[in-house]
């Protein structure tokens, strides 16, 4: 099959030794070709651009459909050769998948540049014109610069040019300014701020629950009642008192119908007979909806833009 989709041999045109000038030149050429392709896509008429997008979507979608539908090779060993054409195709699909995924990731990585461009444009203008809240834009630029600088500085200390982690850690195990700075910025600031943001969910749950659990309608009342039962069912002292009451009413008869009204039994019934089937039903709907959406995108049946 096509050598481009086989495991890359170190000596083909598609590869070059790590850290070599040849690799740098090949990367630059690939980058220029990519940029030229993007430029051409912008320059050509919209209809032709859509055709290119449709063709790329159809081919890549078709590959993954074949990958999932075509029987995978059974008990394949590293040195195995296919026994016939069908098995050869099956081997090719399996071998090509990681390469296709890499191509997809490479194209995706081009897009991060677009994202950074958007950020820069919005915030640079704010900063230059000293618009309202320009201070936040300044914070963004300073943090971006610091994270990029110290992130890469530390990275190049920790990893060799072959991308392999150095056995003894950065500079033989000793930490220097760049390691401390990166650690403070990433673990000390960034991670803590993310954790802080996440912890706000706890407070928001309280305020949202207060609004949702007000008995304004029949639906809200049902929600309130079920939530109350489920919450009470995990409170040991309440469950004990309630269940003792039920036992007394049932005269300690384990076969009594009243045992069905123990708090944990009601909560389990709510979860198993009401909640789980509802979630399954919604999941089925979402799954089929996703399938239909994917199908329409693959076959270019969707007319985007929300036109009525």
């Amino acid at each position: 099959m096509l050598p481009i989709f086989a495991d890359l041999d170190p000596h083909t045109i598609w590869n070059a030794p790590s850290g070599s000038i040849e690799l740098v030149i090949k990367c630059m050429v690939a980058l220029l070709l990519g940029a030229a392709f993007v430029g051409i896509c912008f320059a050509i008429p919209s209809q032709l651009r859509r055709f290119i997008i449709f063709t790329a979507t159809f081919v890549s979608g078709g590959f993954y459909i074949l990958f999932y539908y075509f029987p995978a090779p059974i008990a394949r060993q590293p040195l195995d050769q296919p026994r016939n054409v069908l098995e050869g195709f099956s081997f090719w699909l399996t071998d090509a998948q990681p390469i296709i995924a890499t191509i997809s990731n490479t194209i995706g990585s081009f897009l991060i540049g677009l994202g950074i461009y958007s950020l820069m444009r919005v915030h640079l203008r704010k900063l230059m014109k000293k618009q309202k809240d320009w201070g936040y834009s300044l914070v963004l630029f300073v943090s971006m610069l610091l994270m990029v600088t110290f992130g890469y500085w530390d990275y190049f200390d920790r990893f060799g040019k072959d991308g392999a982690a150095m056995a003894a850690g950065p500079a033989g195990g000793a930490w220097h300014f760049q390691q401390y700075a990166n650690d403070i910025l990433f673990d000390g600031f960034f991670q803590q701020m993310e954790a802080g943001m996440f912890s706000m969910v706890a407070f928001y749950i309280l305020s949202a629950a207060y609004r949702a659990f007000r008995a304004r309608s029949i639906e809200a009342t049902i929600l309130l009642a079920t939530a109350l039962v489920v919450m009470l069912s995990v409170m040991g002292a309440v469950v004990y008192q309630w269940d003792e009451g039920i036992k007394a009413l049932a005269h300690n008869d384990p076969g009594s119908f009243l045992n069905n009204f123990k708090l944990d039994v009601i909560a389990a019934w709510l979860k198993d007979a009401v909640q789980t089937p509802s979630i399954r039903g919604i999941d089925f709907g979402v799954g089929i909806g996703l399938l239909a959406m994917g199908l329409r995108l693959w076959l270019n049946l969707d007319k985007t833009g929300g036109a009525v």
Partner: protein
């Protein structure tokens, strides 16, 4: 039919193929002009109301197409399709919009589609390139950025549609703080309750995928929706069949064996394991057994080896 045929997973493939064909068949049917019915969805009727309110207040409409770790997926595309409709309504009333993107791929696609919407409406001059923004691709940095935008801009309406996770409540509560009308939908079932608690209107489950058909009434979308319903109906019937089959299997399984005198011993009926049920075998294939296949071999020299230059 022997067990070996049941256990290969062919039934799942057949089932998916049936759903695919029912969707395609109904799309063809709708294209031929067949009138198909869609029930009322309150959350979608609220879109015009929300944009109208934003217009009256002169405040922006904030739209968030969710988080997606991959570049662009079907969920985010569906969200952008809905937002394209919202942007179209907003463009007609010259209402400012803000589309906040978590992913640079979604940002690029959103920008293209929203710009097209303004051009199609003949209002290209009203399109502000900064109305579609990339915020961050870190979950809580994104949540902080969008919350900040909602609070600073005092958004009048907020639309949260697509994949949302733990940040859903942060976004919804921020919008609630400024009194924005909120229409939300998450494809993640665990986040739907949060949206129900915090938002004015919520699209649950596949209503999210029905939205573009409901709003635009394009034959392709309406036909696809009916095809989805056929699929759901088939699943419901399968569940019913599973209940009947499972109940029957549980009460009738009997083990037989031969004793020392080679006489047949029939045991008492007992409860079978769920894994022995017919549908369980059809839908959940057994893991591949440890089989070996004899194949011609490459010599080890023919296989590329990883070295400094690459290879895997």
């Amino acid at each position: 039919m022997g067990d070996q045929y049941r256990d290969t997973g062919w039934f799942g493939v057949l089932f998916t193929t049936f759903i695919v064909f029912s969707i395609l068949y109904n799309i063809a049917r709708a294209r031929r002009g067949k009138s198909l019915f869609i029930r009322r969805i309150a959350g979608l009727n609220a879109i015009d109301e929300a944009v109208g309110r934003a217009t009256e207040m002169g405040k922006p409409v904030v739209m968030v197409p969710g988080l997606s770790d991959t570049t662009v997926n079907a969920k985010s595309m569906q969200a952008i399709n809905i937002f394209a409709y919202v942007a179209r309504v907003a463009a007609r009333f010259a209402t400012p919009i803000l589309v906040c993107c978590y992913n640079s791929g979604i940002y690029a696609v959103s920008q293209e589609i929203i710009r097209d919407v303004y051009q199609e409406e003949g209002l290209a001059d009203r399109y502000d390139v900064d109305s579609v923004r990339f915020i961050s691709d870190r979950q809580f940095a994104f949540a902080a950025g969008v919350s900040g935008l909602i609070l600073r801009e005092r958004a009048a309406a907020a639309f949260f549609m697509g994949e949302f996770y733990a940040e859903s409540l942060i976004l919804a509560e921020s919008a609630n703080t400024v009194g924005a009308i909120q229409v939300a939908s998450s494809t993640e079932i665990t986040q739907t309750p949060f949206f129900i608690a915090a938002c004015d209107y919520v699209l649950i489950g596949d209503e999210f995928y029905a939205a573009s058909a409901y709003l635009t009434r394009q034959p392709v979308l309406v036909g696809s929706l009916i095809g989805q319903d056929w699929g759901k109906l088939t699943i419901a019937l399968t569940v019913l069949l599973g209940v009947i089959g499972g109940t029957y299997a549980i009460h009738t399984q009997t083990d037989t064996s031969w004793d020392d005198k080679n006489e047949l011993v029939i045991g008492l009926p007992h409860r079978a394991k769920p894994a022995d049920g017919l549908l369980q075998r059809l839908l959940i294939p057994k893991p591949e057994a440890d089989v070996k296949v004899e194949r011609p071999q490459y010599s080890p020299d023919e296989i590329p080896k990883p070295d400094k230059g690459g290879g895997s």
